[in-house]
């Protein structure tokens, strides 16, 4: 286990270096000359050249890359053009807001996904099973940014049950209950696709285990069906389910949540990426992408470790 952990931690280095190189390349590819931005297009060639030299823009790309990396490592992530504030603290602030939404969506996905998967497996080939599979295919095909609109139209505009977006009400009390109310719709919409995927994986993993002989042995022993399913079949399917759930949560924070945050104006990482894309705020956008990548990589590591902890079969080697 320790060996595995050390090995995985070591492998983080090339992955993060590679990811940072990709982000750096994107900065280089971004249209527009920074000198134009700083001096305007009418500056004399000599002045431009002087400024180029001053900022080291004439150095070879790899020199510029390592200089940039050095700044990143020291916590200097540049300044957001739109908000005129350092990127790193801004990103951290947004990260926790996204985590809040991810928590809600993840909870929904796990409860609904595992529940539906187990029911489908127990009632294999029944109408319920087929219905669950059908719903899961449509959930996978449902764009979150569209479903969000439909939900807003139904539950906010038509029925007036839930707020249309944002994280807090402008007026009235500033309670946690208020935040919770704002979290329901985005949480469900963001959790739907992961729920569908988890349901499919849970169903397959359960069926795999339920085919084995020990299930018959347990029943022969006189165990109730409930205990057989929940205590044994589900327990054995758990590593697979946890693995997939972890990965799905990763996607949630760094992908699906983006569209949901935009639709519901949830002020997290995704909404911030959207604003930086629209406002052509490259330092902010790339900072957000880099930060998200680090989170993504660490989360994948965590999932791998967790998978080993709860799965004795893998733990052995």
């Amino acid at each position: 286990m320790l060996r595995f952990l050390a090995w995985r931690l070591l492998f983080l280095i090339p992955v993060l270096l590679g990811a940072s190189a990709v982000v750096f390349t994107l900065i280089q590819l971004a249209p527009g000359d920074p000198i134009d931005v700083l001096m305007g297009v009418f500056a004399s060639p000599e002045a431009r050249e002087a400024l180029r030299a001053k900022y080291g823009l004439n150095d070879p790309a790899y020199v510029q890359y390592f200089r940039w990396l050095w700044h990143i490592l020291q916590g200097d992530w540049g300044v957001s053009i739109q908000q005129r504030r350092p990127v790193l603290p801004l990103v951290m602030e947004k990260f926790w807001i996204t985590m809040l939404l991810t928590g809600a969506a993840g909870l929904f996905a796990i409860v609904v996904g595992v529940g539906a998967g187990v029911i489908a497996a127990v009632k294999q080939n029944s109408l319920t099973d087929r219905l669950i599979l059908l719903v899961s295919v449509f959930s996978l095909s449902m764009p979150a940014y569209w479903l969000g609109l439909v939900f807003i139209f139904l539950f906010s505009v038509t029925l007036g049950w839930l707020p249309t977006g944002g994280m807090r009400s402008f007026m009235g009390e500033k309670s946690n209950l208020d935040v919770l109310e704002h979290m329901i719709m985005p949480g469900v919409v963001a959790g739907l696709t992961p729920a569908a995927i988890i349901a499919r994986v849970a169903r397959a993993a359960m069926l795999e285990g339920m085919r084995l002989d020990y299930m018959t042995a347990l029943r022969a022993k006189g165990l109730s069906e409930r205990a057989v399913i929940l205590r044994h079949a589900l327990r054995n399917a758990l590593p697979t389910i946890v693995n997939m759930t972890g990965l799905q949560i990763g996607y949630l924070i760094l992908g699906a949540a983006l569209f949901v945050e935009i639709i519901f104006s949830w002020p997290g990482l995704g909404y911030e990426i959207y604003k930086s894309v629209i406002g052509r705020d490259m330092p902010m956008m790339l900072g957000l992408v880099l930060f998200s990548t680090i989170v993504f990589v660490l989360l994948n590591l965590l999932v791998d470790v967790l998978y080993r902890v709860i799965n004795p079969r893998v733990r052995a080697d």
């Binding site: 492998f11 090339p14 992955v15 993060l16 270096l17 590679g18 990811a19 990709v22 982000v23 994107l26 590819l29 971004a30 249209p31 294999q124 295919v137 449509f138 996978l140 095909s141 449902m142 764009p143 979150a144 940014y145 569209w146 479903l147 609109l149 439909v150 807003i152 139209f153 505009v157 696709t193 992961p194 995927i197 397959a204 069926l207 795999e208 997939m244 990965l247 799905q248 990763g250 996607y251 760094l254 992908g255 699906a256 983006l258 569209f259 935009i262 990426i273 959207y274 894309v277 629209i278 490259m282 956008m285 790339l286 957000l288 992408v289 998200s292 990548t293 993504f296 990589v297 994948n300």
Partner: protein
């Protein structure tokens, strides 16, 4: 896009003999598999709409009718109503199917080809080349795919071509990885050994035995991603990157309708339904092909 990578990739067990076994079995399976039939029918229907767009559309998709703005479904002259600018919804939906299909098929086809080559050469050679290619892919994998595509699209600038490029880049690692998994199984098979024993060179083996046998499972995997690509590609256009106005695109159309959601919900709803239907079609098709080509996945 949610299930592009990291999901343990279900690899089809190679079909054994290099000549028979594969495609005939697939074809007979297609006839008996419900999901494939439903999925194929939906996708074919959308392809038909895309091909016949000039004949189906009553108007030019970009033609503005200032007097007939925001007409509801069933208005005489406008079967599916009009949008904020008074453009015919039916015509825009029909033409929009072309971009959605392009987004679903083109990046997967290109990334699939690159992945097939990289994956088969990498995995067949084993050793250093395999490690190099696969670890390189892991590094690109390190980036969350949706963000990578958005970052690339934002850097390259808007437009259909740049959208296709960014989606292709994101798809190369999963396609390479799935090919490598298939090839790793294939290279141990007896018919490859037999070919090697009879004096075939590595290149010959790769092109005559490894590649033809990897195509089917890789194709099945690619199909299972196509639905997510439809959803995700339209999403990029929805947030303002990708397809630019006035070109008709389902993702853009959803965004166009946001402002009038409470007045005229059909402007956003119709393109949304179109995306769900096409994506579900690809997902049914992909699931079915996966079942068919991978006996281990069948439960």
């Amino acid at each position: 896009m949610d299930r592009t990578d990291n999901e343990p990739i279900p690899v089809a067990a190679p079909t054994g003999g290099s000549q028979e076994g594969g495609w005939p079995r697939v074809l007979s399976g297609v006839r008996s598999h419900q999901g494939i039939a439903v999925g194929a029918a939906i996708v074919m229907a959308v392809v038909l709409v895309a091909l016949l767009a000039p004949f189906i559309s009553p108007y030019d998709p970009n033609e503005i009718h200032p007097i007939d703005r925001l007409k509801g479904i069933g208005t005489p002259g406008y079967l599916l109503g009009t949008d904020i600018q008074g453009r015919d919804m039916l015509s825009r939906l029909a033409w929009g199917s072309r971009t959605s299909l392009a987004i679903a098929v083109v990046p997967l086809a290109i990334a699939g080809l690159i992945g097939l080559l990289l994956g088969s050469f990498g995995a067949y050679g084993g050793g250093v080349s395999e490690t190099l290619i696969m670890r390189g892919m892991d590094v690109v994998f390190g980036l969350p795919p949706i963000l990578l595509a958005i970052a690339v699209a934002a850097t390259l600038g808007p437009g259909l071509f740049n959208l296709l490029v960014s989606l292709t880049i994101v798809l190369i690692p999963p396609m390479t990885r799935v090919t490598a998994q298939v090839v790793a199984i294939l290279r141990e098979q007896t018919f490859v050994e037999a070919a090697r024993a009879s004096g075939a060179r590595d290149l010959q083996i790769i092109f005559h035995h490894i590649l033809p046998n990897s195509v089917a499972p890789v194709l099945a995997y690619a199909t299972s991603l196509a639905g997510s690509m439809v959803v995700f590609g339209a999403g990029i256009s929805f947030i303002g990157l990708g397809i630019q106005p006035p070109r008709a695109d389902w993702g853009r159309m959803i965004n166009d309708g946001r402002e009038v959601l409470d007045l005229m919900p059909h402007v956003s709803t119709l393109p949304g339904i179109a995306i769900v239907v096409l994506a579900a079609g690809f997902n049914f098709l992909g699931d079915g092909l996966r079942d068919l080509l991978d006996p281990r996945m069948k439960v």
